[in-house]
């Protein structure tokens, strides 16, 4: 019953899916103990953040039917918020909180303005305008290097308790450091925000969003102010993306355009949501986990494959680890055509 409330009654509705989700949850929960090593923890933290980021994007793309290319811009706002606050206010929890909240507020305000201009005309405007605005902001950030550190970004300090230097003894044979503590901050914050999103999509408000996605004309005719609902969804989605950005910055202790603002990141996000399954928050979990794992480990595999085929000119280039986006792009196109409901939709249909 308690669990039912936690997941807002939105069951995975497929045995395999349930098993996968449970495995991901437990894997992340016990990551420091199950998979020791810096790289594994790095991957786990990244997965946590990207699940949240993808879920917030799905609120817009899958549930409201609005395509945005500015989601990483909001992500970046949260990250830079924490980074700049920590830099200027000094290391401390206050900086983290102020930075996160300021980032989220700025993101929501920006989302509101963009929505104001584009959503009342046609949905396709929104996609084009967000693309334009996001790229302008990305350029602005790399140009204003005195504030943002430009292309290189900047590192900053977080509370000592969360740093690797803080050693708190051993547990289950694993040395507990501030880094692990930091991981759990990231993990639990992501988890809580994820559950909040899950609740939102299963609330009366969330149903209205789905109705608008299905038939905005009729939604308006039965008394829903479509633009208002779309705008609110855009703002919530942007604010949560910013908070995900804050968590990411906290984990990396660094912000820079490549890790938070780049168009490549935006494409990754699109791939995560579409391949995982649009219109179901669980899709974000599956998609993000797969994506990050692939990014981290598949590239190694491709690297060795490229070496093995080094003699064959074109093939080795196609298998170059840097070209993995090529294969993902192909997978993405196929997925839009043949599995528009993504992995989750596939699993549910095959139940």
């Amino acid at each position: 019953m308690m669990l039912h409330a936690l997941i807002s009654g939105d069951r995975p509705r497929s045995r395999i899916l349930t098993a996968l989700l449970l495995a991901i949850f437990l894997g992340l929960l016990f990551a420091p103990f199950l998979f020791p090593g810096v790289r594994a923890l790095e991957t786990a933290a990244r997965i946590s953040v990207f699940i949240l980021l993808a879920a917030s994007y799905d609120l817009l793309l899958g549930y409201t039917g609005v395509v945005s290319f500015a989601h990483t811009m909001f992500f970046g706002m949260g990250a830079y918020g924490v980074g700049l606050a920590s830099q200027h206010m000094g290391r401390g929890y206050g900086s983290l909180i102020v930075g996160s909240l300021a980032g989220a507020a700025l993101a929501a305000a920006f989302a509101f303005l963009i929505a104001l201009f584009s959503l009342r005309v046609r949905a396709i405007f929104f996609a084009m305008i967000t693309l334009a605005v996001a790229s302008a902001v990305a350029v602005l950030v790399s140009q204003l290097s005195s504030i943002t550190g430009g292309e290189d970004g900047f590192t900053f300090q977080i509370p000592r308790a969360l740093g690797p230097a803080n050693r708190m003894g051993e547990f289950m044979g694993v040395q507990i450091t501030g880094k692990i503590l930091n991981y759990y901050v990231v993990f639990f914050c992501s988890l809580i925000l994820f559950l909040v999103l899950l609740r939102i999509v299963n609330s009366p408000f969330g149903r209205v969003l789905q109705a608008i996605r299905e038939n905005d004309f009729r939604a308006e005719a039965i008394g829903y102010r479509v633009v208002r609902y779309r705008t609110i969804a855009t703002c919530i989605s942007a604010a949560v993306a910013a908070l995900a950005g804050s968590l990411f910055a906290l984990w990396l202790r660094y912000v820079g355009p490549d890790t938070t603002l780049s168009f490549e990141l935006m494409l990754d996000l699109l791939l995560i949501v579409v391949i995982g399954g649009m219109g179901t928050i669980w899709g974000a979990v599956i998609g993000a986990t797969l994506m990050v794992l692939a990014q981290t480990y598949l590239q190694d595999l491709m690297g060795s494959a490229a070496e093995a085929t080094a003699a064959i000119p074109l093939l080795s280039r196609l298998l170059d680890p840097d070209r993995w986006l090529l294969w993902l792009g192909v997978l993405f196109i196929l997925s839009v055509y043949f599995f528009p409901a993504g992995i989750v939709g596939r699993l549910r249909a095959g139940r």
Binding site: G9, I200, F205, V208, Q210, A219, I222, G223
Partner: protein
């Protein structure tokens, strides 16, 4: 009897074409008014003007004495104008129950509730089920609308309107495209609504037998203008209606 809905001098032009031409008409509570006229007479456009899908060039629409001519469709609906569409216009990917529940929650603050679970609002679900029972769709409540038969979609269309519980019901050819045995179900539903005496019902319909049995009053639109208004029998017999429907004799061709 009070006038619930009133249009005065309502006009809309598209380019040079006057689609609705200074229509002044009042609709009273408890009355079912049939709106008839040949194709292209401006009936659906008149509906669109009242429910706000298109903006009038001039004239006013008043609901319960208040001017609603500048409000958005959603705002007009909130104030009590319920509209069903000629072509079925539902939320195809959502379930039947969800469609009706969305209509029920439309005018309640609960729609803005972000952090409560839909399944906890059992009151809404019960109300939706009651409406579905009434239109005999309860057995298909969990089906996605896109999988319903055409007849059931038309019924759901009526159910959405009942769920909105408006002061004014506007039906635009509710039996269009229905087979002979499906239509009576929908007409029965409308007759049932009429029995709730305080409701105002506007009905665009072509089948004269339907009009004769259901309507308290007929208004006739022709080339966008209101050309007749009165008791069904008297209007149907009038010359002006004959002419609107049959056309003038063409003496010179």
């Amino acid at each position: 009897m009070t006038e619930v809905l009133e249009t005065s001098g309502l006009t809309v032009r598209f380019g040079g074409h006057v689609a609705v031409d200074a229509v002044s008409c009042a609709f009273r509570a408890g009355e079912l008014t049939a709106i008839v006229g040949p194709n292209g007479a401006g009936k659906t456009t008149y509906f669109n003007l009242i429910s706000g899908q298109i903006a009038a060039s001039s004239g006013s629409v008043r609901l319960m004495g208040q001017d609603i001519g500048r409000l958005s469709p959603s705002e007009r609906c909130k104030r009590g104008l319920g509209r069903a569409f000629q072509l079925t216009n539902l939320f195809p990917g959502l379930s039947v129950l969800e469609n009706v529940r969305l209509a029920i929650q439309a005018h309640r603050p609960v729609s803005a509730s972000l952090f409560s679970m839909v399944s906890r609002h059992t009151g809404l679900t019960d109300e939706a089920m009651a409406v579905l029972e009434r239109v005999r769709l309860a057995t298909v409540k969990d089906q996605p609308v896109s999988e319903l038969s055409h007849g059931n979609q038309r019924k759901l269309e009526v159910a959405m309107l009942i769920a909105l519980d408006p002061k004014v019901y506007m039906f635009d050819e509710p039996t269009a495209g229905m087979s002979g045995d499906e239509a009576p179900v929908v007409l029965d539903l409308i007759a049932g609504l009429k029995a709730q005496t305080d409701r105002t019902i506007l009905l665009v319909e072509h089948k004269m037998d339907v009009i004769r049995t259901l309507a308290d009053r007929i208004i006739v639109l022709h080339n966008g203008a209101l050309v007749a208004d009165g008791e069904p029998a008297e209007v149907i017999a009038s010359d002006v209606v004959q002419e609107a429907y049959m056309g003038k004799e063409l003496t010179d061709v």
